[in-house]
């Protein structure tokens, strides 16, 4: 797919998800948690309930609309945390070098050796379910990519003429890092954060599906699927719509990341995967 197309399609999907999440209290039909009514249980999609209702008679559409808030919150906040950690470690390691660089590189390799989902699962097991635990678990476990990029960029940029010039002008280390190095590595970092957001949303859904993330009755797409699993024979629509919501949101972020990469980080053939 051409860079332009994926940028627009991805941007459109992500924009739609954000819009739905922000407007959730105004566009929902009923309350996503409280409006349970056993008289309405397991009604297939139709005029009154566009996506049908679940075993407690709650409107699936309203729950999906609110689920967007949880997914996007987890995606955005965990990626901000990962980027801050990764950039701080990577930038200082690449710029200062020495024992600090060895330490950071060792830590990065350690993080890469533990699959981030497993690491997050372990943290959730200790902290218990809930949004705060999820933000901690996902915000601390996948900074190794942005760290590696920031370190590599800092290493190659620090010998550039303008950085040397800044040093001669008497700029301090921190000032050089923030005003000279950081702006020149933002492109690849934005790309990684966008793709990471999709990964975090998938991880949240997975953990909630396993019962370790957001617990019912709160409408996370993953926990909705976990409840839907038992009713797949009698009410398959319960499993279809939350899954589509995850798929299109993550697809949007992945397409947006691809499209941004073509603009912001054109040389990265090796990282084009």
């Amino acid at each position: 797919m051409k860079g332009g197309t994926s940028l627009w399609v991805g941007g459109g999907l992500v924009g739609l998800a954000v819009l739905v999440g922000v407007l959730a209290p105004w566009i929902h039909l009923t309350d996503p948690v409280l409006a349970a009514n056993l008289m309405n249980a397991e009604i297939p999609p139709g005029r009154e309930f566009p996506f049908g209702t679940d075993a407690q008679g709650r409107d699936i559409y309203s729950r999906i609309v609110h689920g967007a808030r949880i997914s996007l919150t987890v995606g955005v906040i965990s990626q901000i945390a990962n980027t801050l950690i990764g950039v701080t470690l990577g930038l200082t390691a690449g710029y200062w070098g020495g024992w600090w660089d060895d330490l950071v590189s060792g830590l990065t390799n350690l993080m890469l050796a533990i699959p981030s989902l497993i690491f997050a699962l372990a943290i959730m097991a200790i902290l218990g379910p809930g949004l705060t635990s999820l933000l901690i678990a996902l915000g601390l476990t996948s900074w190794s990519y942005s760290c590696r990029i920031a370190r590599a960029q800092a290493l190659s940029l620090k010998s550039q003429g303008y950085v040397q010039a800044a040093r001669i002008l008497g700029y301090g280390d921190l000032r050089i890092m923030f005003t000279q190095l950081l702006p020149n590595m933002l492109g690849p970092l934005i790309v990684i954060a966008t793709l990471g957001m999709g990964g975090a949303i998938l991880a949240e859904a997975t953990l909630s599906f396993l019962g370790l993330g957001i617990r019912p009755p709160y409408p996370s797409w993953g926990s909705m699927l976990s409840e839907a699993r038992d009713q797949i024979t009698t009410a398959p629509w319960l499993s279809v719509f939350p899954g589509l919501a995850i798929f299109f949101t993550v697809l949007g972020l992945n397409l947006l990341g691809d499209g941004l990469r073509d603009i912001l980080d054109p040389q990265s053939v090796a990282r084009r995967t």
């Binding site: 396993l210 499993s239 939350p242």
Partner: protein
């Protein structure tokens, strides 16, 4: 070859030690021990006297440093402790689950390689064609699918509606039970492999030596098999290694969905039963599998690319 192996092993040992330490500390230092958590989640209430006895029995009251040294010593000789729940050695629990786990991971990876690599290859050779666009749209969609949802949909379609395959369970461990979980697990590495292969082949197609080969009159099929395939292989093999290594961890949710008796479902069940030694053991095994596969891949480089001869 031997030198490379020794070198790699020397690199891996500190990582393993660090992971062992991390897995121990994670479950010992962070607030909320598993035993106190038993009361907090409100599902069970335990008599304080019983809790006291449990803590003693499990050695949770010993000083941290002492427990740490003991844990390191035990783990180094392959003793992963005793399960809180079944009172069996964790190594035995894991050993019972290992074969189903390996079977699922291998099957998923085989599926991913058999479809992903040829797809990416053809897409690159026919760059810009309908086939190229379609396979890349398919690939990015495959990367965006939640595995458990894909599994759920496959289960609904092929097991519940068409009744071609069993919906869950291990059965006799044969192909019929293996197919759906392996596809659910294999789709995202397949998609990633298709994208990597395409990017690697496109990169090589623009290389000087390919132009030289063409300009000296080498036939296109020979150029592709002699020059392009071999050079693109390094990146493809790297991706296969990284994906394969992390697949046992990714399998957790698929195993749980299909009630597949692997290490992943043991991990999740142990988390819910607050069986710390089993949780630690499963995590260590998953990390060890990742490191082992990647060491093997490093050795494979030497065979593929004669330029790579580490020191």
């Amino acid at each position: 070859m031997l030198a490379v192996l020794v070198r790699r092993l020397l690199n891996v040992v500190p990582t393993i030690a660090a992971v062992v330490a991390l897995v121990f500390l994670l479950f010992s230092v962070l607030p909320g021990s598993f035993i106190s958590g038993m009361n907090e989640d409100g599902r069970t209430t335990i008599d304080p006297a019983v809790m006291e006895r449990m803590r003693k029995e499990m050695g949770l009251d010993d000083p941290l440093a002492e427990r740490f040294v003991k844990y390191l010593g035990r783990t180094a000789i392959g003793d992963l402790g005793t399960s809180f729940r079944t009172r069996e050695p964790v190594t035995k629990l894991i050993a019972d689950r290992l074969w189903p786990s390996l079977k699922l991971t291998f099957a998923a990876m085989l599926f991913a390689i058999a479809i992903g690599v040829p797809l990416g290859f053809v897409a690159a050779l026919k760059q810009g064609s309908v086939l190229d666009t379609a396979s890349m749209v398919g690939a990015i969609s495959g990367l965006s699918l939640p595995k458990f949802w894909l599994g759920l949909m496959l289960m609904y379609l092929f097991a519940l509606q068409l009744k071609w395959l069993p919906s869950f369970g291990y059965g006799d461990g044969g192909l019929r039970h293996l197919t759906l979980p392996a596809i659910a697990l294999g789709v995202s590495p397949m998609a990633l492999l298709a994208r990597t292969t395409r990017a690697a082949v496109l990169d090589v197609l623009n290389a000087d030596f390919v132009r030289t080969a063409r300009s000296k009159g080498m036939g296109e099929s020979r150029v592709v098999t002699w020059h392009v395939m071999r050079n693109a292989l390094v990146l493809v093999v790297t991706t296969i290694g990284l994906q394969f290594g992390s697949l046992m961890g990714q399998a957790v949710v698929v195993e749980k969905l299909f009630s597949w008796p692997g290490v992943g479902s043991l991990l999740v069940d142990s988390v819910f039963q607050r069986d710390i030694p089993a949780v630690q053991g499963c995590i260590l095994l998953i990390v060890f599998f990742f490191l082992a596969i990647n060491t093997l891949i490093d050795l494979a480089y030497v065979l593929i690319d004669p330029r790579i001869r580490y020191g």
